[in-house]
Amino acid sequence: MNRFTRDQMAARVGRDIPNGAYVNLGIGLPTMVANHLPKDREIILHTENGLLGMGPAPEAGAEDLDLINAGKQPVTALPGASYFHHADSFGMMRGGHLDCCVLGAFQVSVKGDLANWHTGAKDAIPAVGGAMDLAIGAKSVYVMMEHLTKQGESKIVAHCTYPVTGLSCVNRIYTDLAVIDVTPSGLVAIDIVPGLSFEELARLTGVPMQDQTGGGGTRNAA
């Protein structure tokens, strides 16, 4: 089965972020989007620990341990950047000032419920960071994840079985198989990896989904 590569997924997300947007990229796969933002757009990256206008990683030897991202990796500040304290930083999320955030996920439900902070395993030490604030805060919440678990189960589910991060908060899901919008009338596939039919995508996903991948009319599958 064909799959979008991680770079292709990141590039696809990058193309959907408009000029002038304020964006928070989550830890892991979403961080790759920073390398794929269209060069002709001015997009301002936010990091929860108090920086707007985050730039790329510094060259080796130029790291400053007072200048880090949410993953605690050294970064740079672009001309025009600003620093602020934590309450302001999370006010930017909760207050609806961020245009978009891109998050990883364990599961997303058909209603847009997000599970990405805790497996619920008894011996796991829970940690949430800013995930719950981002989930309910940004104007658009995009999820990037593999479509299927290693066991071949869909990570897009009727109901999340992992503890949720936020309810009805995801707007769009980018996977290695498809791009799927979460709408009030259900999931809508808008892009699909070449060589995969909508019917096969719907079968693998196992939840009701509409087809708008062909540019033609809408088809339904369950």
């Binding site: 007072d66 605690k72 909760r94 604030d133 309810l167």
Partner: protein, 233 residues
């Protein structure tokens, strides 16, 4: 004459009592007031509640304090990191209590304490495990969770420069929790890289006005090297 300058970290933390709640600034090691923490370890207060974004990295700073087993409870958003082995072992052994708080609620609860807010409704965490048992309300069609302030008996913050009135400026993303913690404690102790004369800080650029700061101690350069960054927020 007002003079908040204290001669040493040891003198700055000398009166911290057993059972105190201490707000400790920093995000990972950026902005962590390690020398004040070291002084608290030497001072010996126990049965402490510590509020920080994390639960220690490596074996120094906050992790070293936890290792003394004088911390009863940690309030934080992200304890589990690649280098949080000290906390992990205590938690698995049932030797430390954890209150896990979404990071934005943690920040706003601290801010609320410093601003005299009795409680507030936050949309963050609604419908999740972390809001279980909490009061909720629908406001303008949206779901909110009631959250209460987090006050400190003491706050430890790390800043770049300070003066004898306690005015502070910070450095880059090491600012993080410093300004809100400074306002939320009965006694705020700032460790600064450099103490400057009154008037040397541009009033337009002061981040924490001195009214929020009780003691200022100069720690010229980081006395220790900071470990390599750990994983995840």
């Amino acid at each position: 004459m007002i003079n908040k300058i204290v001669r040493s970290a040891e003198a700055a933390v000398a009166d911290i009592h057993d059972g105190a709640t201490v707000l400790i600034g920093g995000f990972g090691t950026a902005g962590m007031p390690s020398e004040l923490i070291d002084a608290l370890i030497a001072q010996g207060a126990r049965d402490l509640t510590i509020v920080n974004n994390n639960a220690g990295n490596g074996d120094t700073g906050l992790a070293a304090l936890l290792k003394t087993k004088r911390v009863r409870k940690v309030v934080c958003s992200f304890p589990r990191q690649t280098d949080s082995h000290v906390f992990d072992a205590l938690y698995r052994a049932g030797e430390i209590e954890l209150e896990l708080v979404p990071q934005g609620n943690l920040a706003e609860r601290i801010r609320a304490a410093g601003s005299g807010i009795g409680a507030f409704f936050s949309p963050t965490g609604f419908g999740t495990l972390l809001a279980e048992g909490k009061e909720t309300r629908v406001i303008d069609g949206r779901n909110y969770v009631l959250e209460y302030p987090i006050r400190g008996d003491y706050a430890f913050v790390k800043a770049l420069r300070g003066d004898r009135w306690g005015n502070l400026v910070y450095r880059k993303t090491a600012r993080n929790f410093g300004p809100i913690m400074a306002a939320a404690a009965k006694c705020t102790i700032a460790q600064v890289r450099e103490i400057v004369n009154l008037g040397d800080l541009d009033p337009e650029a002061v981040v924490t006005p001195g009214i929020f700061v009780t003691r200022v101690v100069e720690i010229p350069v980081a006395a220790r090297t900071v470990e390599a960054p750990g994983a995840a927020a």
